[in-house]
């Protein structure tokens, strides 16, 4: 891709070159024709005079190369006349010089004569060359000046446009930034400005509305869920076992809905590119914290945790999001682990590796592993890993999953 100025300059140059070349050809051939024509007239004149002299029976001497007169013997000679341009070697200047030549064979007073008259066109040709050079020089100068002026003008004209372009690049929907566009007295640019302004305003408004709607909807759900849960918990207090078991079932479902609601809200926030409070976060710290939190479960399954945090893995991201990321990965690693298995976490400043042993007789499809609601057992909601993937994508990280014999490995890298 090229800049507009470069493109227009290139085209301008090509066009000018073609035009000038055409001009040149035109001028040159025109002048050339004129020169020859002038010479030809003179040659005709000279020949006429010579013929007249011969007719008067006066002897005409040859003066090479200007005029040559030769009387021809015999009677089968064709009468003709020709005009040509030729080069002759000039003794005086010791070089080849241009001439215009008229040759003819005529019958005068009963005899055949060959008449050759020549005229040097060197002066004219030289003039032509000088003219050519002068015009070329002029043209080149003209082109350079035009070029220069064109560039300067272009830059000046396009400056507001480039400024507005950079404003556009800076525009961030999340940060609710405003577009500071430079006004221009050029119709098209003004039109563009106006369109951009209304476009961006609408975009920001729609985005805000969407955010609010999603959050409101989610919050609206929480309160009724609360009521269900609380009342179900109340009913649990019943001594009638059958009734209390039913109440417990209602309670558990309400809890699950609530958890699902929270996760979906999180996913939609991630979808909307809401980045939260972004700071440089040391992942190692969070990893240790989360392991501590889940220590009970880890010990219960007698899982060996091997931490190999060689270097600090730091990345700009929201702290709470990191906690969710690590917590999800760890929970997965624990829940899909076998008893007496292991979890190994290694970190360098470029990547973090999570590996863990997996339950026997369970097959894992690494292609679909990040899909929403891809569950391994019916109790988990199945959103954990899809949340992980969304987080990875939002904060410019990458993740790789691979499996070996009885082991699965996740690598997060920059």
């Amino acid at each position: 891709m090229k800049k507009l100025i470069q493109q227009s300059n290139k085209q301008f140059l090509i066009l000018i070159t073609i035009l000038l070349s055409a001009c040149y050809l035109f001028i040159f051939s025109g002048l050339n024709y004129y020169i020859n024509h002038e010479s030809d007239e003179k040659l005709e004149n000279d020949e006429f005079r010579i013929v007249q002299e011969i007719k008067k029976n006066r002897k005409v001497s040859s003066i090479y190369p200007i005029a040559e007169i030769e009387e021809l013997i015999g009677s089968n000679h064709k009468i003709y006349k020709s005009l040509k341009s030729e080069y002759l070697f000039d003794e005086y200047d010791q070089e080849m010089e241009p001439y215009r030549v008229l040759r003819s064979i005529q019958k005068i007073n009963g005899n055949f004569y060959k008449i050759t008259v020549r005229q040097s066109t060197i002066e004219q040709k030289d003039l032509l060359i000088t003219l050519g050079v002068a015009i070329s020089g002029l043209f080149v100068l003209l082109i350079l000046i035009l070029f220069f002026i064109n560039n300067k003008l272009s830059h000046k004209l396009w400056k507001p446009f480039y400024h507005n372009l950079s404003e556009l690049e800076k525009f961030d929907l999340q940060n609710n930034s405003k577009l500071n566009l430079i006004e221009s007295n050029i119709t098209e640019f003004e039109q563009l400005n106006r369109s951009l302004k209304s476009f961006s305003t609408k975009l920001v408004n729609d985005y805000q509305n969407l955010k609010e709607f999603t959050e409101n909807a989610s919050h609206e759900i929480q309160t009724p869920l609360s009521i269900i849960q609380l009342n179900a918990e109340e009913l649990l207090q019943e001594s009638d076992e059958e009734k209390s078991q039913k109440a417990y079932a209602i309670y558990k479902s309400a809890k699950r809905l609530s958890s699902l609601n929270h996760k979906l809200l999180l996913l939609s926030k991630l979808d909307n590119q809401q980045k939260g409070i972004v700071k440089e976060v040391n992942f190692n710290h969070i990893i240790e914290e989360q392991i501590n939190l889940l220590l009970g479960l880890i010990e219960l399954k007698n899982i060996e945790v091997i931490l190999n945090l060689k270097e600090k893995f730091i990345h700009p991201i929201d702290v709470e999001i990191v906690e969710i990321l690590i917590s999800n990965l760890l929970s997965n690693a624990i829940n899909h682990n076998k008893n007496n298995g292991f979890i190994q976490i290694e970190s360098t400043n470029k990547e973090i590796k999570f590996s863990n042993s997996t339950k026997e007789n369970v097959s894992i499809n690494t292609d679909k592993i990040f899909n929403r609601f891809n569950k391994f057992n019916s109790d988990s909601v199945g959103l954990g890993l899809s949340i992980v993937l969304k987080i990875i994508n939002l904060y410019n990280l990458s993740i790789d999953v691979s499996k070996k014999d009885g082991e699965i490995q996740f690598i997060i890298f920059k």
Binding site: H219, L225, S226, I227, L230, E234, Y248, L300
Partner: protein, 223 residues
């Protein structure tokens, strides 16, 4: 106690629940109503919902601080927003719970505030032969000191605060680990804690008040 909550169902629920604990309860469903009540009465505990129809519950906190002498306040909200949490606690609320919450959890926190207030930071809780010293983090059964882990200690206080009530394993797990979702449906860790606590109490000669409610949870009771 003052309950400020615009959802009537929830308001009624909280009313019924805390009435049983011998609270005298006033209710308000708007900021306006609440302001009126705050002017006239002194409350020990104020349960405050943030999302009220005529404004944010947080606006009431300065008013409460102004009008009320010795009070405790807990903010309830559907929003899981850290900003609200910080703002609320900064303004002077004592505690913060997000909906949906376990009533046992709310109860336990209300009790904690009352303990702090009424008993002038007296930190001794007595349940039959079990005495818990919160300050010293010490539990005695008939004067014999029990060796409890931090989690077991928290568990015991929670159980005593909510005595005679069926507590779901989820609510206990959430209280101890501030989230029950990490366990999915595997509460073995909790079972282990319960078992250990029970053993330690009975080993020191205490009765087993920690009853298992099959499939659901536990109940700390002497009945």
């Amino acid at each position: 106690m003052l309950i400020v909550e615009d959802e009537l169902d929830l308001q009624n629920y909280l009313f019924d629940y805390f009435r049983k604990s011998d609270f005298v309860i006033y209710t308000a469903k708007t900021k306006f109503e609440a302001e009126d009540l705050l002017l006239i009465n002194q409350f020990d505990i104020i349960l405050l919902d943030i999302s009220l129809p005529d404004g944010s519950g947080l606006d009431l906190i300065p008013i409460i601080k102004d009008q009320q002498k010795d009070f405790g306040s807990i903010i309830l909200t559907a929003k899981d927003s850290i900003d609200d949490k910080i703002e609320g606690l900064d303004l002077g609320a004592d505690d913060y719970l997000t909906k949906p919450f376990h009533i046992a959890e709310l109860n336990s926190r209300v009790k904690a505030i009352i303990r702090r207030k009424k008993y002038q930071n007296q930190t001794l809780i007595q349940y039959h032969e079990i005495s818990v010293d919160i300050d010293r983090i010490e539990v005695k059964v008939n004067d014999e000191i029990l060796n409890l882990t931090n989690k077991e200690f928290d568990l015991l206080i929670y159980l005593i605060s909510n005595q005679d009530r069926v507590l779901t394993k989820e609510s206990i797990a959430e209280h101890l680990w501030s989230s029950d979702t990490v366990f999915f449906d595997n509460f073995d860790v909790l079972y282990a804690q319960i078992k250990n606590l029970r053993k330690k109490i009975t080993a020191a000669g205490g009765s087993n008040y920690l009853k298992t409610i099959h499939g659901i949870g536990y109940k700390f009771t002497d009945k």
